[in-house]
Assembly symmetry: C2
Homo-oligomer: 398 residues x 2
């Protein structure tokens, strides 16, 4: 028969992440592409014990759950947030299938075709895809290593009157940078003034490197007041515990959360309650903070190794900043280089990364690339970087 | 701040299922409302063993997975389908967060606002909600206990030229009825003629009662040909294994499936791969068919008990058919009765059901109700039916 797809289908343009995930399944390729955590640090034994505890609760553990998510886990997250000075109740929170679903659900209830969303330049590619799929018009705001440019933001709020501003202020995907406190406060103030809802995407906030005393408060935490919160905050256990449990959460004004739950009911009734219950047991019987602290140190070591290799390689005309946390280096190459072309050569040589262009909502920069440093061990990182050096030789002039 | 929700939000009208699930959490209420399987028959020990096997595979089990779902599970499902004479490969299949997500994803890629979807009268309430949320125009087709009325379908295909026809031909939710083979073939033929895609929702097909030799072939199986399949088929493990694993699947033309996967990538990257891997291990090391056969017999016994009680109560003017499988009785009351009002009385007396009106896309029948018979044990069913009798007395005239 003749399939008559929706107009919307054409908006699911790039499927880069999916293709990347496929690429990484090929054993011979060393991939710096996917945002994958290090498998060897997954708390497998603890997850196993937690699961046993779930099943020991009785058969009801396998029954349908609430759309909002397993209440005891929402309570655990609330308590954890309280330790960081963030006051949220389980009613201000929805559990999702990763934070990706939180982005999708908020967009679904908030954005009509033609509505403007402001985004960073560059930003998370799968968020771009979601926004496009709902017919949003994306406008990029300039920024630097301290965060969004406040003057450019003000101008674009004034010009476009956007409904939403999407940001990853802490250890950005793809740049690895963290916003200064001043920029966080400035963006909040401006968005409040213009009635633009901030979607704060924070999958990496727990993965902080360097000086323990330096804090990056979430914009959400700066906006605490009883009603009319200007910020919706989402995070995930994918980077701190394990991705296979596919559990994220989203916090915000209870009215927004209730409406997202209505959309979630239609989308999938609820996420895996087995995973949610397992995470709750981890909260109760496992030193989650200790584990996160351990993972953070391991990732910092991997980041330092890659920084060292980048300094050694010293590829001509290639610039980068040391990430303050998270999972990624962001490299800028000489203007003439197209990293999508470079990727073809690289994959032939057995190494992968993500070309930078996919991270731009408009006017893509073809000469940038994202490199993950968390997934590969020391040896693979060295081999991968050597292969990448070979690929670089084909495009860079010494 | 002032929230500016999308127009779409207003279309997530009823949240009846969610409210029902909340209701069932109150211990004192005996609920015939939710479509809940019997907890005491969940294969808890087998799920525990399967999970142990997953973790024994090593840390990679906790890593990100493919959007399409865990390949070995897709292969297992293919093999199971082949035994029923249905030829599908893993490429014709996508794993979803319950079959609810399959309905959502197909609608997302296929339906533009204003497109017509034909549905049964009555039909699954959360499907109505999904279709409405995408701005579809729903038109109901008449039917009887043998399935959709072919003359009415032909007339409405001709008049509305719908993009999609949504059906639950085997042990319908809410009516529990199964279509005859003739109706299945007739609907397929008519939809093919009018280029209308059939979405066949089959969560209950495995729960067949009575004569073993009677078969209800899926419409999908009647449509087997290499390209341009007219049917998308979805099912779930929620009713045969357990809902908490939140795993469904959808099969169809590989082009359609690929496009649904693109939409799924934006929606949540992938569903819980831990759950998918656990189900794969159940396929490998557990007598799934034996388990399903056992559950089927238990549910048939519960159905017979409720049928017996219904005959005993013999409420004046209340009609029903014995379901041929699945989870539900559908009762029609005298025209003057509004079951939404009856529910209020019933809940005060400690028993719940779902008022029929929510199952209609248009012109709701206020005098019908859905009763689940799978969740409660013998004793609770008796108590619940006695309470319901009391409630009935308030609205029915002897």
């Amino acid at each position: 028969m003749n399939y008559r797809y929706s107009d919307r289908l054409g908006k699911f343009s790039s499927s880069a992440v999916r293709e990347i995930l496929k690429l990484t399944q090929r054993q011979s390729v060393i991939s710096f592409a996917g945002g994958l955590p290090a498998e060897e640090h997954f708390p497998v034994a603890a997850v196993g014990e937690a699961f046993d505890r779930v099943l020991a609760q009785g058969n009801k553990a396998l029954q349908y759950g609430l759309t909002e998510g397993y209440l005891p886990l929402r309570e655990s997250i609330s308590r954890r947030m309280a330790k960081k000075g963030i006051q949220v109740t389980p009613d201000d929170m929805l559990l999702t299938t990763g934070s990706q679903q939180a982005i999708d659900l908020l967009t679904r209830i908030y954005i009509d075709p033609g509505d403007v969303i402001l985004v960073e330049r560059p930003t998370y590619l799968s968020a771009i895809q979601v926004f496009n799929s709902y017919g949003a018009r994306l406008v990029s705001v300039a920024g630097d290593s301290d965060g969004m440019d406040l003057a450019d933001l003000a101008a674009k709020l004034e010009q476009h009157r956007p409904k939403m501003v999407y940001v990853i202020p802490t250890f950005s995907n793809p740049t690895g940078q963290a916003w200064s406190l001043e920029r966080r406060k400035g963006v909040l103030e401006l968005c409040r003034k213009y009635d633009a809802l901030i979607l704060e995407d924070d999958p990496y906030g727990e993965l902080k490197f360097g000086d323990e005393s330096v804090h990056y408060p979430s914009i959400f935490s700066l906006d605490q007041h009883p009603a009319g919160s200007c910020v919706v905050y989402t995070s995930t256990f994918s980077k701190t515990v394990a991705p296979a449990l596919r559990t994220g959460w989203v916090m915000g004004d209870p009215d927004l959360i209730r409406n997202m739950a209505r959309a979630k009911q239609a989308a999938d009734l609820h996420s895996s309650s087995l995973d949610q219950q397992t995470l709750y047991q981890l909260f109760e019987h496992f030193d989650l903070d200790g584990h996160i602290s351990f993972v953070r140190k391991e990732y910092e070591a991997r980041m330092r190794q890659m920084a060292e290799l980048l300094r050694e390689k010293n590829w001509p005309g290639v610039t980068w900043n040391e990430p303050k946390g998270g999972m990624f280096f962001w490299l800028e190459l000489p203007e003439a280089v197209d990293t999508a072309e470079l990727l073809k050569t690289a994959v032939q040589l057995g190494v992968a990364f993500v070309p930078g262009a996919t991270f731009f909502a408009e006017n893509p920069k073809a000469n940038a690339m994202r490199m993950n440093f968390t997934h590969n061990d020391t040896e693979n990182t060295i081999t991968g970087m050597n292969r990448l050096s070979q690929a670089m030789e084909s495009v860079l002039v010494r």
